[in-house]
Symmetry: C2
Subunit: 263 residues, 2 copies
């Protein structure tokens, strides 16, 4: 029997589908893109798609399915969105109702699936360029902050931009920008470097989500748009139903992170 | 009185709004981005937005408005979509019914406006790099061809990719690719260079739309995704109503072409 870390995306999804893996997906299928999940009733679908179109940095769409469809085409040819994510969060009117290991019984033809890029993809590229990633070194969640920057609203969806922060040595900042710029479909270039106050962040050691990380002397805080943004925006709109992946429990695609790079 | 060529986008739109300019917009407001227009009833809006998301090269969205909205936000702060385009085509069930100089009387809260990027923007960049553009030199319409490449379908929208062709001297082809790649929101890099048969084009001197142009000895035909693609796809779906700009009679935005470039 292979360790889960050695399995292909297809093999991992098969395990997940049988209910044999309900844990986070960090470190699995290295090299392959993982995706955030948002499922909404059809009546919200245009507004949410428009929100993503207007805010591509926090909401980098990898694939959107027609109402009722649960099979991906672009990210994988054999995946089933109802079963292939390790854990799902079920929200009613913006409140978490429960988490489940599949959504077969909840599925209906009115539901629209959105899969969005995730910073795991560009973190791999940063590590390959020997740019340290502190929260990985310290085995923590990435620190996330609510900024004073408003997203462009779309229909019922509105709210502030949420960012992740990674401290970068000053002589590596330009390279970090160049690398992540290539990954436009997974948040792309940073939205801000340097003074956190300029984007409304008062205390770097008190993130709104995730964990604080060590910032070494001279390191520059670099801020990237974060996939928590669309989730926060959806919760605020209080749709009667919204299904997401449970944080950290992502959809593992057959697409290589390298295939997401621009060149 | 100034020549129309000397006017700013705002001044041109004011003339268009008063019905004082109903002619093509090529050569006007040089340096500023012009946009293709597609207006559809709300019930088609999600499918069409999804079609654009899945086919960004032929359908580079610059701005999409909520149902009933006729004022742009991103492309201009003071434009009115109902009056600021020199001529409009009104289609019923995929057939051209008539052309008009404003759509005030047709407007209603169910209509959704899509504005898409146009190759005028990257042609300006090619010219600046001294890459010849044959159809401009010969004062013709760009030659357009229906390829054997299927767009990714979305809901009711499906159809082949339509491309434009520009012959490029062999020692300028790489530069032409590099330049247009920067303009992802106006079709971006070419989809094919060289042998037209590989994409189902049999006769370069018989374009499906536009005019044939001279291809000089040694020049390489370079093919870019074309904004006629989404229009053809919409006509094929036969919506009860669709409003577009009359070919060549574009929306002139306040955005510089340079602002559309990636870096």
């Amino acid at each position: 029997m292979k360790y889960i870390q050695q399995l292909t995306p297809k093999e991992i999804r098969a395990r997940v589908r049988k209910g044999k893996w309900e844990k986070p997906t960090a470190g699995l299928a290295m090299g392959y893109a993982q995706a955030n999940l948002v499922i909404l009733p059809q009546k919200y679908a245009f507004d949410f798609l428009l929100f993503c179109q207007r805010n591509p940095k926090p909401c980098p769409l990898l694939e959107v399915l027609e109402p009722g469809r649960f099979r991906t085409e672009f990210l994988s040819k054999d995946a089933d969105i109802r079963t292939d994510i390790p854990r799902y969060n079920i929200y009613r009117k913006g409140k978490l109702e429960r988490t489940v290991s599949n959504i077969r019984s909840l599925w209906n033809n009115d539901l629209v699936t959105f899969l969005l890029g995730c910073s795991f993809s560009f973190e791999e590229a940063l590590l390959k360029a020997k740019i340290p990633i502190r929260h990985i070194e310290e085995n923590k969640n990435v620190p996330m902050f609510i900024t004073n920057i408003s997203c462009k609203s779309a229909g019922v969806f509105r709210g502030p931009l949420v960012v992740t922060m990674r401290p970068v040595p000053p002589n590596r900042v330009i390279r970090a920008i160049q690398i992540t710029e290539r990954y436009a479909s997974v948040h792309g270039a940073p939205i801000h470097i340097g003074n956190p106050l300029r984007i409304g962040i008062k205390k770097l050691n008190k993130p709104d989500f995730g964990d604080p990380v060590t910032i070494k002397k001279g390191e520059i805080p670099v801020f990237w748009a974060c996939g928590v943004t669309p989730q926060a925006v959806v919760m605020r709109a209080k749709p009667e139903l919204c299904i997401t992946h449970t944080p950290g429990h992502m959809f593992i695609s057959d697409l290589l992170n390298d295939e997401l790079a621009v060149y």
